[in-house]
């Protein structure tokens, strides 16, 4: 620490000198705040703000250069919607301080390499785009940028690498061209033409087997659903045809041209794309979602065409805004609505389209589904005179196209619409949808309305739903969610087990113990008596029936009552459901009792899995059982199945984490022991400590293996059952000469796709087994196609 007197003169080269007035961390915060906020609403113009900020930062460079570098690199990576604001800022700084410009470029390259190393490809694209816009700001020399792009495009010629790798490098190149195409083409047209032609030939030869799996609709009318790369290619071609004239992007650097063109430029160091490794995970392919075009808003400004580069830039920026502010819904809504160009583009339509694009994205939305519902509500609050109408129009359009909408997307539409309505007193012009009343109930439109009404009921109550729909819609209204107790009526006294049920009811009401229940149940005859060799507790379906029916009926009042019942009589449940058939039968009885109340079935199944009364495989088998065939296409069934799979996945992750933590503890202990060799005062015997930990690790290792095996088995069971079901249908259709493509079939095949997509990371581990055991060449090509599409996703 310097013994010099504190002074606040700018003594350069004293890195640890403290300013008298503020702590360094405060200054860093202030710098961060200044940099982050530039470009926001202000009394002064953007240009004067940028100029002012450049001056401030230039003055701070001697003391805070590394912090400034770090902040600028971070905004480049995390605030891509303000790309050109920050490239301009860097341009101004470079004009004032050439060395700083060079250091910034170097830092960006380091950051880019780091991102690619840890699979952060979405952020890497932003960095590449930033670098390319720096060409416009005279920070980077155009030829060196072209050289980097040449290295990117040459990845498309690598052999034995996943297509998704080549896709990313091509996308990083193409998606920068709206910003820098003009400049690069002016300086290096021959090289650019060559790059574009290489890109074109790559696009022609890349395989597209996976595309149908990612499309929201199976029809290409009214809007074709292209892959992002194909759409972007068309957009760039059009841009090139327009001589690279691009008018949408805000380019603050144009105002500073006279300053910037005096600046010296830097050359990008030669950039070799890091090689493909086993740990590389590239972004999933994506299909562009479009639902609007210029005909949808005839009164307002014209919506840019689907192959215009403007459309691309708007969509990119809106997606970036959501990504930046997803946790802050009010800020997110405000930022979306203040996107520049408001009166030149139909912004509300773009926003709604981008939000639905994310909500319906396959395999999964980028953010949790409920965020989009709440974000749309915030947007409606901020624009009450216009946004709700656009939303209603969008809803209508989505409804009209239900026939070809992917089942998974329909699920999300159902969830969104019902939740949205519950925030607006369920007001909707249901009569507009009366066309669905004349259709077969299994057709997509009536099915959609039924599921929506069921979800609306879950958020309110049965009578409310009856009240909000026209009388004609009663055929689609949900059932009153009441319990069905088969032993309830005196008229049922002839049923086997009736008297025992009565007995049980009285006993349970009198707070009987598990043992007393067992002794009452002993009297129940076993219809499968021939299969028994021992007494008592082998699979007795009647015992299960009587006990479960009675208990669930007594506990029917609420979820809490039912959960208490499950907990209190856990022992009885475990014993009765010990065998696989027992588990299946418990599930069957639960269904029989609560078939009017799917929500109750779902929470009971969840509880029974968590308390190990049934296991995941039993639930899977139950879902595919013939008893449930009638409900097979209902939404709640698939909610249950996916919830079951998720529980299984979380369980495996949890034990794995425990194992890793214990291993880490052992490693730390070894380290301590090695360094404590001379420390005799440590009276803990290190040998004694090791033992239990090592044993624990061994046990956990076994647990992990057994959990992973159970997980794999679950998926195999599910796939197997799908194959059986679909094959049956296909054979029946073939021999009967009827069309394969029934609503049931479409639903079923898309449910199979959904399993692959929703759990793709886990399923990737099983590829060899799936290929050799289940999805073999002998399989009907309809079913095999789904597997091939899945394989093609990350190939």
């Amino acid at each position: 620490m310097s013994r010099r007197r504190h002074s606040d003169d700018s003594d350069a080269g004293q890195p640890h000198k403290r300013r008298r007035t503020s702590e360094p961390s405060e200054i860093e915060e202030r710098l961060e705040s200044l940099i982050c906020r530039v470009g926001e609403k202000s009394n002064s113009s953007l240009e004067s703000n940028l100029e002012g900020l450049a001056g401030v930062l230039e003055a701070d460079l001697p003391n805070y250069k590394s912090k400034i570098l770090r902040i600028l690199c971070t905004v480049a990576r995390l605030l891509p919607e303000k790309l050109t604001v920050y490239t301009t800022l860097v341009g101004l700084l470079n004009a004032r301080n050439y060395n700083f410009g060079g250091e910034f470029v170097e830092a960006m390259i380091r950051q880019l390499k780091e991102c690619l190393k840890v699979n952060m490809y979405n952020e890497a694209v932003h960095l590449v785009r930033f670098l390319s816009d720096l060409v416009n700001c005279h920070v980077i020399a155009a030829p060196s940028m072209v050289a980097m792009f040449e290295n990117f495009v040459s990845v498309t010629q690598e052999e034995d690498v996943p297509q998704v790798r080549c896709d990313w490098y091509m996308f990083a190149f193409l998606s920068s061209l709206p910003w820098v195409g003009k400049e690069l083409y002016e300086k290096k047209d021959a090289e650019m033409d060559r790059l574009l032609s290489q890109t074109e030939s790559y696009l022609k030869r890349r395989q597209k087997i996976h595309v149908p799996m990612l499309q929201v609709w199976t029809a290409d009318k009214p809007h074709p659903q292209e892959e992002v790369s194909d759409c972007l290619w068309s957009q760039i071609q059009k841009l090139k045809k327009d001589r690279w004239q691009e008018r949408h992007i805000l380019r603050p650097y144009l105002a500073f041209d006279s300053i910037l063109c005096e600046a010296l430029q830097h050359n990008l160091p030669p950039f070799t794309p890091p090689p493909h490794t086993e740990d590389s995970v590239y972004p999933m392919p994506r299909v562009i979602f479009r639902m609007f075009d210029y005909t949808d808003d005839p009164e307002g400004p014209v919506m840019p065409g689907s192959h215009s580069v403007e459309r691309f830039v708007i969509e990119e920026n809106l997606h970036c805004i959501i990504k930046s502010h997803w946790k802050e819904r009010k800020t997110c809504a405000a930022q979306l609505l203040s996107y520049p160009g408001n009166n030149k583009i139909p912004l509300n339509y773009h926003i709604v389209e981008v939000i639905f694009a994310e909500l319906f994205q396959l395999p999964s939305p980028p953010h949790i589904e409920v965020m989009y519902t709440t974000l749309l509500i915030e947007l409606c609050k901020l624009q009450p005179g216009s946004l709700p109408q656009v939303l209603a129009q969008a809803t209508e359009m989505l409804y009209m196209r239900l026939d070809t909408m992917n089942t998974t997307c329909v699920d999300r539409f159902i969830n969104w619409f019902s939740h949205h309505l519950s925030n607006f007193q369920f007001r909707w012009s249901w009569e507009d949808w009366s066309d669905c009343l004349t259709q077969d109930l299994e057709k997509p439109k009536p099915k959609f309305v039924r599921e929506v009404l069921e979800k609306c009921m879950r958020l309110s109550y049965h009578q409310r739903i009856i009240d909000i729909v026209p009388a004609s819609f009663s055929v689609l209204s949900p059932a009153n969610p009441v319990c069905i107790y088969k032993y309830g009526d005196e008229s049922n006294r002839s049923l086997p087990g009736y008297t025992v049920a009565l007995c049980l009811t009285i006993a349970i009401k009198n707070k009987a113990s598990n043992d007393e229940i067992f002794s009452i149940l002993k009297d129940v005859p076993n219809p499968n008596q021939d299969d028994d060799d021992d007494e008592g507790f082998t699979f007795n379906p009647l015992k299960i029936e009587v006990f479960v029916q009675t208990l669930l009926h007594l506990a029917a009042k609420s979820f809490s009552h039912s959960f208490s019942a499950l907990a209190k009589f856990h022992e009885v449940f475990k014993t009765l459901a010990e065998s696989d058939e027992g588990k299946l039968h418990v599930l069957r009885v639960v269904y029989e009792v609560w078939k009017n109340h799917p929500q109750m079935i779902a929470v009971l199944v969840d509880k029974m899995i968590r308390t190990q009364i049934v296991d995941c495989a039993a639930v899977a088998n139950w879902i595919f059982s013939s008893e449930l065939a009638h409900d097979f296409t209902r939404f709640y069934i698939w909610e249950i199945l996916h919830s079951t799979i998720r529980k299984m996945n979380k369980h495996v992750l949890k034990i794995h984490k425990e194992l890793e933590e214990t291993k880490a503890r052992l490693a730390r202990q070894h380290k301590r022991r090695d360094s404590d060799d001379d420390d005799d005062d440590d009276d803990r015997s290190s040998d004694r400590e090791d033992g239990p930990l090592e044993e624990q690790i061994e046990r956990l290792q076994e647990k992990v293996e057994s959990a992973q095996s159970e997980q794999k088995n679950l998926f195999l069971v599910i796939f197997q059952r799908f194959i059986m079901l679909l094959t049956e249908h296909l054979v029946r259709c073939e021999t009967g000469g009827i069309d394969v493509f029934t609503p049931w079939y479409k639903s079923c095949i898309e449910r199979l796709q959904q399993i692959f997509l929703q759990h793709h990371q886990i399923i990737q581990q099983y590829m060899v087994t799936l290929e050799n055991l289940l999805f073999t060449a002998e399989l009907d090509h309809h079913i095999l196609a789904v597997f091939q599409q899945f394989c093609a996703l990350q190939a």
């Binding site: 961060e32 740990d279 589904e369 979820f559």
Partner: protein, 166 residues
């Protein structure tokens, strides 16, 4: 074969405070005055809690409705309905406990301030359910806010208790 887990923290560079902003999931100003322990203990518990207090419910809102709505942010471990201490009937609040804190955070971000049974509901972090906390603390048995409230609220027993007694 080891599970492939994508690294979350990036080596180079951090994040920006503007993007760290998570005001909906932050602690509110409210602290339960009946909490047994220091302010520090309470805040520590609030910061790692998976339990939310939910207020401004209608007396008629059921556990099922709450489960459906709050299930949208993740798997629910338990719902405990708030009860009038005297009547043992619903009195307009509840606790929702999740298995994972992240799911509770999403509820704070996206379900807090939206409607259930046509009412804007409010969620807040809770230090954890303890037996007895399911009862209203108002003198009449319901919630304190219903003791002194002057307005008429059909979903919460009409006028406030003090007004009713006039």
């Amino acid at each position: 074969k080891a599970l492939r887990v994508r690294p979350v923290a990036m080596a180079a560079g951090g994040t920006l405070s503007i993007l760290r902003s998570d005001s909906y999931a932050d602690l509110s100003q409210y602290r339960d005055q009946h909490f047994r322990g220091t302010r520090y203990d309470q805040e520590r518990l609030l910061r790692k809690s998976c339990t939310l207090y939910v207020g401004n419910l209608s007396f008629y809102t059921t556990e099922e409705q709450i489960h459906e709505l709050f299930g949208k942010s993740g798997d629910i471990k338990k719902v405990i309905m708030g009860l009038d201490k005297v009547k043992k009937t619903a009195c307009g609040f509840c606790f929702v406990e999740y298995y994972a804190r992240g799911d509770a955070e999403n509820a704070m971000r996206y379900i807090n301030g939206t409607r259930l049974d046509d009412r804007i509901i409010r969620t807040d972090w809770d230090a954890g359910f303890k037996e007895g906390r399911q009862y209203g603390r108002g003198r009449s048995g319901g919630q304190v806010r219903d003791e002194y409230r002057q307005d008429y609220d059909a979903g919460r027993g009409g006028y406030g208790k003090t007004v009713q007694c006039q």
